[in-house]
Symmetry: C2
Subunit: 453 residues, 2 copies
């Protein structure tokens, strides 16, 4: 019998999250006030987030203890398995050793509950009884609904109306965990009512949904807001993935040469890669960490490093990030979780310092990779996850061409059970390339009038 | 931190399946020829199944070795976790200790791959390159598609047209693993063409789909047929569930007083319960093993013990079983996997000998149980799985009323990711009771003109 799966038991769930800021040679630049453009402190976040999360957002402590109650909930699906991809290696006829960490075993089906549970816990600790958020495709909304339910917190999800109408099953999933799901724009907020008055038939947008969720939190004492990626504390929580993977690779008697993860706002990538990047920063190892983004939303590979807003309408602080501009609307690819204009500040700084790498894959290539993986390994990946697979396949093919047996590890961040329509479109030949032209990129960057770094 | 999850590592995957026939005080009666009504031997199955599976169908060996190649594939998702349901215990305010074995971590999302992988393996060993089967809701078709793909066997699935049209995502899942899926009746078989000629707009039935799959296997040298429940070899393969659970309960320092599983054809129940029933048969323990069936299809609780056909049209051997009659068409409940008129012969004999128990739950009760479970434990169960939950809740409530802290174990046989429509119907108040009247039951039994036992 092959040693396909490297398991840990529930007592081996890591006790600390890893905060890479402590080890970064150049720390991230401070955020700026959206109006004054002056640096702001953590207190600016107080209306939206509980104190403990704001502290985690700015801490320079290297290790942050995971509360027992959070580890307890984690144990529902963690530690997640790490697999040696013998099937994929054989299908690619590569000398590479390929491993993947599988986050699809969570009840919500992705890595998102790693931070959702932590966020719900800290909110509950500070007496918060309602958390609002936005969701597009539904992965994040599902994860937060799941987490809030376990801590007996009311969860309000503003779901982009287009998704609300087209992805009813994600909505039902959230309802099953007791969450209230509103099609956004909704009648529940001032922002929503205003937009509906102007255009009753609007299909909504993530920017509008954020505005609604933020308004509810900002105007209600016992209500806070939660974000599923981009911010430092979200990345911090996700390092549980890499912390486990480090233990598992040690058990396998291997250390990766290359670590790969899909890239949307950064928490997926940070989660797996930062605990390995630590070996580079601490011990001078040279593990290549590669962020894998869609060619239709290539902020890391083709964007500009600049201050930019986190939202579309320009209400959030200005953050120093690789961005395509807050007005950029990515093509409607199925990997909805990767359709974000900017990259979180830590990842942006690391890329600027050439401590990590980034690659982009087109939409057809990633589905080819996804089907290859499903047939070789048995698990059908989420469209977001196929980006990491495409990069892993690319690197494994290079190993074959060069005759070098490198060890590759990637983050299989979720299953595709709710994404069968995407696979149907692929089999029906309806998936098309969405690559930006030089002119489009140059126009986006030229028009971005936010402050330079 | 609570000890919620009892894990085994991949080296603890059991090496043998348990064949309860060896320990049964009364062995099952022989099958009869559908025409002559005379007892038949295993050779009658040769056109449909490979020799190794026919041997397993009739063996009286107590332990059957699991081939290394099968254990290797099992390790993709096995051993599956066993959970202590602290959340559910709290929600029910019961002194009972509740455990559940979770089979939803398989790539196909249920326990079905346990036998699909074994069946694909033995077919491949005997040079079979194509396996046919039927599927209703799609759980079994998905599992066999997954398994055949890993052994490079062509898989043909005849999917009841009603499901084919209404559950496209299960079809896409099968396609992703490379299976060919035909809406049944299809043009691919004589049986299908005949029915289509008579009624081009028919929505099909499981009986028709079986006829098509069987015809393809019977008329093609290199093609065999596979069944997902009912038969002895299928039950045998599923005992991997209980074999693991026995180890896990030992690790937890506990032995169940009550073991519960949903009941369709019997493999789900056999899988978890038989390895515990062994303690009763071998050591005189008195673990209650309860099969949980839908009130709309109550063959165990209200059926008759009689010879009956396995299929609707009367082509299969006559089997001694608890049945509602092969012409019985169960109400269209969402738990499609439990809509079968009869019970496998081993389970039928055990029930007749009062060595196991059976209960029935109505359709509304099981969804209430499913939502209670999802909110207490985080995992959204498949509609089939909610039946076992309903029984567990019933027993846990009795523990509270009687003040007795019994230990309950049930089989959470699959997740509900592909069943969100069912939950939507429940929340919309569209789930209704389907209970059979005394008159209906008595009519079904009176009209059944097959041989008595």
């Amino acid at each position: 019998m092959k040693n396909r799966k490297i398991t840990l038991n529930e007592h081996e769930i890591p006790e600390k999250w890893y905060n890479i800021i402590a080890d970064m040679p150049n720390k991230p630049l401070p955020p700026l006030h959206p109006g004054t453009k002056e640096p702001i402190g953590p207190e600016a976040l107080a209306p939206l987030f509980p104190g403990a999360l704001i502290e985690q957002e700015v801490t320079s402590e290297k290790w942050v203890e995971i509360p027992d109650e959070v580890r307890d909930i984690y144990s529902l699906w963690r530690p997640t398995p790490l697999y040696r991809a013998y099937g994929l290696e054989k299908a690619l006829d590569t000398p590479a050793k390929i491993y993947y960490k599988y986050e699809g075993t969570s009840p919500a089906g992705s890595h998102k509950p790693n931070t959702a549970v932590a966020q719900a816990y800290y909110n509950k600790q500070e007496g918060i009884n309602r958390i609002t958020t936005e969701t597009g495709a539904g992965q994040w909304g599902s994860a937060l609904s799941f987490a809030c339910n376990l801590f007996d917190i009311e969860c309000e999800v503003y779901m982009v109306r287009l998704s609300y109408d087209h992805k009813p099953y994600r909505k039902v999933m959230m309802n099953t965990w007791g969450a209230k799901v509103f099609p956004s724009p909704s009648e529940a907020t001032e922002a929503g009512r205003k937009i509906l008055a102007e255009d009753p038939d609007t299909t909504g947008s993530l920017g509008i949904a954020i505005s609604e969720a933020v308004e509810r939190a900002a105007t209600n004492e016992d209500t806070k807001y939660a974000l599923g990626s981009v911010l430092n504390h979200v990345k911090l929580h996700q390092t549980i993935i890499g912390q486990e993977a480090v233990q598992q690779m040690e058990k396998a008697g291997d250390l990766p040469d290359i670590v790969i993860a899909p890239f949307g706002g950064g928490s997926n990538f940070a989660g797996l890669a930062f605990p390995f990047l630590r070996f580079n920063l601490e011990e001078g190892k040279s593990i290549r960490c590669i962020a894998s983004e869609p060619a239709s939303c290539p902020k890391l590979t083709r964007g500009v490093f600049k201050y930019d807003f986190g939202d579309t309408v320009g209400m959030t602080p200005l953050l120093p990030m690789y961005t395509l501009g807050h007005n950029f609307i990515p093509a409607p690819i199925h990997a909805g979780g990767l359709r974000y204009h900017g990259a979180g500040v830590i990842v942006s700084q690391l890329l600027r310092d050439k401590l990590i790498e980034a690659v982009a894959h087109d939409n057809v290539e990633v589905f080819e990779a996804g089907v290859t993986f499903a047939r070789a390994e048995g698990i059908i990946p989420a469209p977001e996850a196929t980006h990491g697979i495409a990069t892993a396949i690319h690197e494994a093919n290079k190993c074959r061409e060069e005759g070098v047996p490198r060890t590759i590890l990637f983050n299989l961040c979720g299953h595709g059970n709710f994404d069968m329509k995407a696979y149907e479109d692929y089999f029906d030949g309806k998936i098309v390339k969405h690559e930006l032209s030089e002119e489009e990129i140059s126009k986006l960057i030229t028009e971005l009038d936010t402050p330079d770094v």
